[in-house]
Amino acid sequence: MGLAKRIIPCLDVDEGRVVKGVRFVDIRDAGDPVEVARRYDEQMADEITFLDITASSSARDTMVEVVREVAAQVFIPLTVGGGIREVADIHRMLHAGADKVSINTAAVNRPQLVSEASRYFGAQCIVVAIDAKRCADHWEVFTHGGRNATGLDAVDWALQMAERGAGEILLTSMDRDGTRDGFDLALTRAVSNAVSVPVIASGGVGELSHLARGVQEGGADAVLAASIFHFGQYTIRQAKEHMAACGIEVNMQ
């Protein structure tokens, strides 16, 4: 009983197509965001996150259409990140059926955006995504997929973003992302302890035990993963069963 810890599959979308090889056994079109989202919905995902990695800004309208189509068929919360630069972008995504938007680089470039967006739309739909890398005795915020250092301390930044009205922090360890070695638990714990808003742990999940440790040792309120679900290694339901067996509250109905 009580608020369940969430499991969130994340899909990368490029010009309207799911990329990074989603491989479900019997899927007709693994590149179709609607079909992939429906699979995760059937598997009892608690939310779905789309990351728009489209490079050209001219193709960005495609993502709005993707959100509109998914939201018409999948009745669980949808978060959209990538390319959110101003209040108008947020408005378009929410209007198309997204429940939350995640803001990364634009928040670093102009922190005021988070205050404005939160005041206008409410903190509940503003997620700030933080990409952090360990630097000596602390973690630094990076943008552009880990290429650009910002000089910001990740824990301080998370605090500042929560104060400005972020309703949630999506925290990715750039050191662990893609390694399948598990979350950076110290980073997750440091940010989770510092802020009073929920924290989603991301980056590095390679097996089910990593998800449980993110919650139990990292203090995460939700865990996000991509490849372990996309490649059919595990279903969301299996992940929930594992977490439940570890004594974590999950939504199993």
Binding site: A4, A71, A72, F75, L94, G97, Q124, C125, G167, S196
Partner: protein
């Protein structure tokens, strides 16, 4: 044919509410609208809302919809969602204190973040899937299991003054009112349009509801 009006005050995601209603009521006409005539003509009125309650109530007044909503609340099945629940009460602590529609007695308060020795034990917003204990028999709970989880996302909660109005409660640091029912009005704090099968079931129950209650 049922005519369902989803009241549009320009805030948040109403696309999902409309699509969920279309899915459960393929024969109905669903309109997302701020038009007085549309709302007055509807057989069922959905009052959704997200964001800050002050600006939401301002938008309601700005659109000249207060009387239209008040008249719907007296006469037809009405479903409030999130702010559409909170706004029914006398007063909210949000935005430095806001006077609500005063249809139901009670107040809207903010969750207080709680920390223990390990770290924050209660995060705000209350975000995610939590149990709803059904406190009465109601046509809108039909086919929905006791204590099933729905999707919540909010920082303020309802503290209903009249126990008889309470249709559901949820625990998050405090036990709060997550659903109310009075006559032809039903309102919920959670988002049925985002709550998987059980949410769609509640919406379907609403569309089939004639506004009568045996509680």
């Amino acid at each position: 044919m049922q005519r369902i009006a989803v009241v549009d005050l320009g805030t948040g995601n109403l696309h999902s509410v409309a699509k969920a209603l279309e899915k459960v009521a393929p024969g109905a006409r669903v309109s997302v609208t701020a038009e007085h005539a549309r709302i007055s003509d509807a057989t069922h009125v959905v009052l959704p809302g997200q964001g800050a309650i002050g600006s939401w109530l301002d938008a309601l007044s700005g659109a000249g919809l207060r009387d239209v909503i008040a008249s719907a609340i007296k006469s037809r099945p009405v479903l409030g969602i999130c702010l559409g629940l909170q706004a029914l009460f006398d007063h909210s602590d949000e935005d430095g204190g806001t006077t609500g529609l005063g249809i139901l007695p009670g107040a809207v308060r903010r969750f207080t973040p709680v920390s223990d020795s390990v770290g924050p034990a209660l995060k705000v917003p209350h975000m995610g899937w939590n149990n709803v204990a059904q406190r009465c028999l109601h046509p809108l709970w039909q086919g929905i299991n006791q204590d099933v989880r729905f999707y919540f996302v909010h920082s303020y909660y309802v503290d209903a003054a009249e126990p008889v109005d309470i249709a559901g409660t949820t625990e998050y640091g405090v036990r709060f009112t997550s659903a109310v029912a009075r006559e032809n009005v039903f309102a919920v704090q959670f988002h049925p349009e985002k709550s998987h099968h059980q949410g769609l079931q509640l919406l379907e129950n609403f569309v089939l509801w004639n506004g009568e209650v045996e509680c």
